[in-house]
C-alpha cells in the first residue's frame, strides 16, 4: 500500500512550510492548496487520507470548503483538522458543525499537530 496522503489547505506560505518541514521526516505524502476552492478541487481529485484546513482562506472560506467536502461522497468521511488563528469561543464549535474531525488553534505546537495526525491516520 502506498504512503498516506495529507492535503494541507493554507494561504500562508510560512504556515505551509511548517507543515512541510514537520512531515519531511515522516512517511506521509503532502499535497498543498492555497485557497478554499483549490483545496476542494484537489481533495476530489486526489482523495487524501487527511486534510489540514485553515479556516481563514481566500475565495472559499475553510468553513464553506469543509461543508462542500462533507457533501461530496468521496470526501464525506475524510478526517479534517480545522485550524484557525481567531481562537474565539465558538470557533471550534463552528468548525465542527461544518464537518471538522478535530480542531487546532494557531499558534499550535507542531509536536501536537503531528500527534493528532498520527492518531487520526496512523503512518504506514
Amino acid at each position: 500500500m502506498s504512503a498516506r496522503t495529507i492535503l494541507s489547505v493554507e494561504d500562508n506560505e510560512m504556515n505551509r512550510k511548517i507543515v512541510r518541514d514537520l512531515l519531511r521526516r515522516t512517511s506521509y505524502r503532502l499535497i498543498e492548496a492555497h485557497d478554499g476552492e483549490a483545496g476542494v478541487a484537489l481533495a476530489h481529485e486526489q482523495r487524501p487520507d487527511l486534510i489540514l484546513m485553515d479556516v481563514q482562506l481566500p475565495k472559499l472560506s475553510g468553513i464553506d470548503a469543509m461543508r462542500a467536502l462533507r457533501q461530496a461522497p468521496g470526501t464525506a468521511h475524510t478526517p479534517i483538522i480545522a485550524m484557525t488563528s481567531f481562537a474565539l469561543s465558538g470557533d471550534e464549535q463552528r468548525a465542527k458543525d461544518a464537518g471538522a474531525t478535530a480542531y487546532l488553534a494557531k499558534p499550535y505546537s507542531p509536536r501536537d499537530l503531528l500527534a493528532m495526525i498520527r492518531r487520526l491516520v496512523p503512518e504506514e
Binding site: N15, D21, L22, R24, A87, S89, K106, P107, S109, P110
Partner: protein, 981 residues
Amino acid sequence: MGRRAKAAKGKSGAKRARARKPTKNDDAKLAGLEKRLAEALDQQAATAEILRAISGSRTDVPSVLNVVAENAARLCHVEDVSIIQADGGIFRVLAYRGAPRLKEFEGTPVTRGSVAGRAILDRRVVHVPDVTELSEAEFSVSQALVEHFGHSTMLATPLLREGRSIGAIFVRRTNVRPFSDREIELLQTFADHAIIAIENVRLFNETQEALEQQTATSEILRVISRSPTDVQPVFDTIADRAMRLCDGRECSVFRFDGELIHLAALAHVSARWAGALRGAFPRPPGRGSMTARAILTRSIVHVPDCLTDPEYELTEAARASGNRSVLAVPMIRDGEVVGAITVSREEPRPFTKKQIEVVTTFTDQAVIAIENVRLFTELQQRNEAVTQAHTEVSETLERQTATSEVLRVIAGSPTDLQPVLDALVRSASRLCQTADTFLLLVEGDRLRVVARTVEEGGLADSIHRGWVAGRAVVDAQTIHVEDLSSAGAEFPRGAEIAARLGHRTALALPLFGKGLVIGTLFLRRQKVQRFSDKEIALLQTFADQAVIAIENVRLFTELQARTGELTRSVEKLMALGEVGQAVSSSLDLKTVLTTIVSRAVQLSGLDGGVVFEYDEATERFMQRAAIGTANRATAAHEGIRRGEGVVGRMALTLQPVQIPDIAVAGAYESRIREDLIAAGVRALVAVPIMREGRLVGGLAVNRKQPGEVSPDTVELLQTFAAQSALAIQNARLFLEIEDKSRQLEVASRHKSEFLASMSHELRTPLNGILGFNEMILDEVYGEIPPDLREPLTEIQNSGRHLLRLINNVLDLSKIEAGRMELALGDYAVQDTVAQVRASLHALAADKGLEFVTAVPADLPLAHGDAGRIAQCLTNLAGNAIKFTRQGRVEIAVELEGELVVYRVSDTGIGIEPDRMGTLFTEFRQADPTIASEFGGSGLGLSITRKFAEMHGGRVWVESEPGRGSRFFLAVPLRVGGGAPA
C-alpha cells in the same frame, strides 16, 4: 369459672359411669351431684332475693344488708354474720344476723388485731379455721372476743370498692369447721352484693344532697335578687337553709362592723338559746364564742363538742339549750371579715366536709348580698347627688336668661360685630330701663360711638376727664353721676352734653381688653335715678360680653387671614413639589416647562404664560412652552430679540420687568403688541431664568386685567424661573451626555475591533516563531549544538508568554465589548488540569520549581467552558511560577458540594494586604497604564475573575507577604444547571 370447670369434669365422669353396671360408689356420686345442684339453686335464689331487695329499696341500706346477712348465714352454714363498715377507722355494724352482742363491735377501732380489721386493712380474705390456734400477739382483739363469744372458726372477706376497702363481711361458726373454697367464694359474692347496696345508697344520697344544696343555693340567690336593698331576708333564708342542710338544730347569722359582732338572723333557735345569744352579742372578736373565734381567726371554727372546749364562755347556756357540735364560718369580702354563719347541733357529732362546704358557700352568698346592698345604697346616693346637681344647673341657667340674647347673637355672628353690639345696648337699655345706652370705642384720641339704642343725637368727643364716658376711659373705672345738672364743675363737658340731650343721671363702665381700656359702655337717664348695684353688676357682664365679642371677631378675622395665608403656601408648596417632580422625573424639556408655566399661571391668578429659552449666539428668546392667552401670538414669532418687549427688556437688566398696561401708549414696544392686545392681554411680567450667573431663558406671564402684580407673585414667578433653569440645564446636560455616550460607544467598538484584528494579526507570525522554534528544538532540522538549546528554549517560553498576553488582551476587549460568550460543554477536570500542567511544566522546570497537581480521581464530569477554565488556571499558575523564586507551585482541586474549587498555591513573594482588594480589578480598558503593566499579573487576574463570574463562580486570594499565596477559583460543577452526563 373454676366451679363450672369442676362441674363439667364431674358430668363427663358420670357419662363414663353409665356404660357399666351401677355400683354403690356411683350412688354416692349421684347423691353428691344432687346436693350440688340444690346448692346452686339455693345460691341463685339468694342472689335473686338480694337483687330484688336492692332494687326495691334504694335508700334503705340496713334492710338490704339484712337480706344479704340472712342469705349468707343460711348458705354458708354459719351462726353469726355481720356486715361492718370502716368509718374513719371505727367499726360501724351495718347489719348482723345471729348474736345481738355483735352490735358491740360498733365504735371500736379498726386494727389488725381482729379478723375483720385485718381483712379490711389487708384487703384480703382472712380465714381462721381454729381460733384456739391463733397467736395472741397477732389477733389480740379476736382472742378477747373468743373468750367472750366462744366461737371457733372465723372468716372475714373485705368489701372492696375501686380497690379501697370500706368494710367487711364477718362470719363465724361456734364449732371448728373450716370454710370450703366454695363457701369462701360465695361469701365474696355476698360481699359484692353488699358493696352494690351500699354504693347505690351512697350515690343516691349524694345526688339527693347535691340537689338539696343546689335548691337551697338558688333559693338564696333568688332572695338576694328580690331584696337588693335589704340583707335581712337573705340572712333569714341562709340561716334556715344552713340549719336544714347541715342537719343542725340551730343556725345564726352575724354581722361584724370592724369592732363588734352583731346578731343578724336566727333560725329555729330555742327561746333560751336566743336569749343567751342576745345577751352575749354584740361582742368583740375573741375566743369565748365560736362565732367570735371564727371572726378573730378569720378561719372556720369546727368544734365537735363545745362543752369540752376550755375557752368556751357560753357553756352554761349551751348545756341548758343542748348545743354540742358547733361550726362557725367567717364571711370574708376583699380580705375583710364582715360576719359569720354559725350552725350547731344537739349531739356531739362532727359536721361533714360537705356540710362545711355548704356553709362556706352560704357565707359567700351572704357576702354577695351585703355587697349588693352596699352598691345599691351607693348608687342611690349618687343618683341623689346627680339630681341635686341638676337642680342647681337649672337654677343657674334661669339666672343666665337675662344675658342669653346677647350670647345667642355672639354665637350667631362670629364675624360680624355690629349685631352683637346692637343687641347688647338694646338689652342694657331694656333691663336697666334707661333712655339710651351707648357703646363707645377708643379710636386714637377719641371715643367713637359704635352702637346705641336710639338713632339720634351725637356723643363723640376726645378722651378727657371732663365728661362721664371720657373719665371712665381715662380713670379705667366705673363713673356714676347721679345728677349731671349739678355736676357742671366736675364734668363741664358732660353737663353740656346732658343739657343738650336731656339726661340727668349717667353711668359709664370701662371695657377692658388685654388690660387696656378699649372703650366704654355709657347709659343715661332723663330723670335723676341712681343705677342700683344689681344693675351695675348686670351691666358689668354686658361690658365683658362686648369685649368678648370684639375679641372674638378680631381672632376670627386673624384666623381667617392666617388660614388663607396657609392655604396659599400649601398650594405653593404643592405646585413646587409637582414641578420639582416633573423636573426630576422627565427629561422631556417641553413637558417639564409646560408643567412649570401652567402651575405658575394658576398659582399667581394670571391668564397666560410663556417660557423662553435664550440662545446666546443669536441673542434671541425662543418659545419652549406656553399656556393660556397669547400662546399663538408668541409662538408665531421667530424668537424675541434682546431689548424687545418685556422679555427683551428683562434681558438687559436681568431683573423682573412689569408692564401694568400695554395698551398705554409708549409703555410697551414689540412686534407682537397688536396680537397681544387683540388677545385681550393688558399686563405683562417677565422674570429672568438664570443659571450660574448666565441668562438661559425667561418666564413671561400675562393678565387681562391691567395693573401691577404683587411682589409676592413676582417672587413666586422667580421660584418657578429657578425651576425652569434647572429643567433647561438638565435637558442640555442630558443631550450632551447622550451625544458623548454615542461617541464613546463608537470609539469603544472601534477599539475592540482593532484589538481583535490586531491579536489575529499577531498570531500568524507567532505561529511561525513558535512552530519553527519548536521543530528546531525537536531537531526536525537536525541536531542542534548544546549551547543553542538554552536560548532556543528561552525563545519558546517568551513566545508562549507573548501569546498568553495577546490572548488576554483579546479576551479583555471581548469581555468589555460584551461579546464574550462561554462555549459550554462537558469536560473532565483532570484533563483540564493536565493540559495546564503540560503547558506550564517547562516554565516551572526552567526555574527549578516543583510543579504538582492534585485532582481527586473520582470527580464527576464537569460542565462549563473547559478552554476558559484552563485559561484561568494557566493565568493563576503562570503568575505563581513568575512570582516564586524557589519552592513549589501546586494546583489542587476539591469538590465542595456543587462547587469545584481549584486552589493554586505557591511559595512565592506573597501579596501586600492593601493590594489584595483591587487585585482582580486593576485593569480596565481605558486604563492608560495598560502598556506599562503589560508584564504584570493584573490583566490575567481581571480576565480570570470575569470568566469565573461568567461561570457563576468567583475567585479570591489568601496571602501574606513572604509566605506565598493561595489563589482560589470556585465554579459550579455543572454550569447553568447542565444535567450530569
